[in-house]
Amino acid sequence: MKIIKRFYVGLILFFLYIPIVVLIVQSFNAGKSRAKWEGFSLHWYEELFRDPNIVNSLIVTLSIALLAALFSTIIGTLAAIGIHAMRKKPQQLMLTLNNIPMTMPDIVTGISLMLLFIFTQVERGYFTMLLAHITFDIPYVILSVMPKLKQMNKHSYEAALDLGATPSYALTHVILPEVMPGVITGALLAFTLSLDDFTISYFTTSPLVQNLSTLIYSQARKGIKPTMNALSAIMFVALLALLLLVNKRSSKQEN
């Protein structure tokens, strides 16, 4: 029985990973063909870094993810602190409102923001894409910070104020240290979400500013270039590393 169980999980993992593994193996295939192996080569990796479109989109993707994570963490952490301190009714309202961006399907978020930018005549591009990313990142930051706030001693803040601290001092030296693990998890979450986003970016950017996902989409419709395989391989390894890092952090926290 045990063996069957292990086998089952193994089988599912196998199916999940086969396409990815094949892709990575293909990235080292010297030839273009999908079925024939023509020798080991790093050729496609070279091509990858020489392709200006890909390099540009990588820069766009990374910078947007970093900036979006940054701003959404700041706004989100402040918001979480504020919401946590609200009375029950306003708190419920805010949490429900907070749920909306998370539960709206990507396509509707993207379209509604596109309409907003067109209506206000803001030219779509890097800036609008950034605004969109921050918008869908913040709720996740709030969701990461809230549990930490709940764990915190309810009266620390007021105690600090009573002892003479200014509100900002109390904020930075009392609340923030306690919730920092949640803040960092939130930031990492926001970063990863922005790194990966396609649908929302698709609607809120201009053809000149492409992030990795929108570039892949427009190129995939033409046919998969072998450089894509190299890209996937790199992204996969990077992601694995990032996730192991997050996992280490959270297990450290729990201990």
Partner: protein
């Protein structure tokens, strides 16, 4: 901790400035909006070397996408290469502006008959870029009979081996032509007949693609495909088993023009680029890369027999005679076409 945060901020801010590189380039720029793979991009580099003007490249996959983007992003594009049937509409809606032909002396290299197409009879708005036909590309190892009619797309023998074109005017057009109607008809009954035909054909279609077709045909993925002549030439270069034909019922002939949107910010740079592209050596180079039919007489001379002897890139007069240009359609008729096309797309 704080140091880490400030470091991240610094890095992020630096990175964020980089993508603007193109837009805020210290020198002159020109923003070009074109089809994918429809220009030898080394030509842009040469242009920049000679004039110092940097070219920003943006791409679209369908005319519909292009029309929309040009409408909602005023000022974003300086040079656009749309399909001919869009130009009429763009002129009536004031989306494009008249060109200053003093800045485009190389225009004289364009084949005279192509200098004044139906949609721009006084040649005020456009300069032809490439032209071609719509036809069927077929794999001679998979199709043994002679291909000369659109009817082969409905032949059950080739079920799931036919790649159709996901472009509304072209696909509706071929069905209309097959039925003997005009590609620009306003008649609802004719359109309905065409739609019914296409819906009946759908089970035989392997897929509806635009850009993917040429690589797939070159790889031998299908027996028949509806394609533009240039894409066909690309595939034929890669796979010598392929051949191209413009069916006897007639088809579409098109000229893709270069136009400048009314809201363009760098009109003169765009005109300089147009002029550059009409230079015989550049036009020849571009043509040899894209391998579509060139409207540039001087370039054709430079290319010689390679070009003139190729029936696909240089079709004989009888082929040209049985082809039609697309014309713009009034809005309510366009709605009709769109609705019928939706019916085809959604048929299962």
């Amino acid at each position: 901790m704080k140091k880490l945060v400030s470091l991240v901020c610094a890095v992020a801010l630096c990175l964020s400035l980089l993508p603007q590189r193109g837009a805020l380039a210290a020198g002159e720029v020109v923003n070009v909006y074109n089809w994918f793979d429809y220009m030898d991009e080394e030509v842009y580099d040469l242009f920049e070397q000679e004039t110092g003007i940097h070219v920003n490249k943006m791409y679209f996959t369908t005319n519909e996408e292009m029309m929309l983007q040009v409408r909602v992003s005023p000022g974003a594009y300086d040079l656009v290469i749309p399909s001919d049937y869009c130009v009429e509409r763009m002129i009536t809606e004031g989306m494009i502006q008249k060109l200053n032909f003093d800045n485009i002396p190389n225009f004289e290299n364009v084949i005279p008959s192509l200098q004044t197409p139906d949609y721009d009879p006084e040649h005020e708005y456009c300069v032809p870029f490439m032209w071609g036909t719509l036809g069927i590309l077929y794999d001679t190892t998979k199709v043994e009979e002679e291909v000369d009619s659109w009817s082969i797309l409905w032949d059950e023998k080739y079920a799931e081996n036919i790649i159709m074109l996901a472009s509304m005017r072209d696909t509706m057009g071929l069905a209309l032509k097959y039925l003997g109607y005009s590609m620009n008809t306003h008649d609802v009954l004719e359109l309905k007949a065409a739609t019914d035909l296409l819906i009946a054909q759908k089970p035989l279609a392997k897929a509806y693609y635009v850009d993917e077709t040429k690589d797939k045909m070159a790889a031998g993925d299908a027996a028949l495909a509806v394609m533009w002549s240039g894409d066909a030439l690309y595939a034929m270069d890669l796979n010598e088993n392929l051949d191209y034909v413009v069916p006897k019922e007639g088809s579409n002939i098109w000229i893709d023009p270069m136009v400048i949107p009314s809201t363009a910010k760098n009109k003169e740079n765009a005109e300089k680029l147009i002029n550059f592209l009409c230079r015989p050596d550049i036009a020849q180079r571009n043509c040899e890369y894209i391998w579509y039919s060139s409207p540039n007489a001087a370039a054709i001379e430079l290319m010689g027999e390679d070009y003139t002897e190729n029936a696909t890139i240089n079709p004989p007069q009888d082929v040209i005679d049985r082809c039609e240009f697309f014309h713009d359609l009034p809005e309510n008729v366009l709605k009709l076409y769109n609705t019928f096309w939706d019916q085809v797309k959604n048929a299962r």
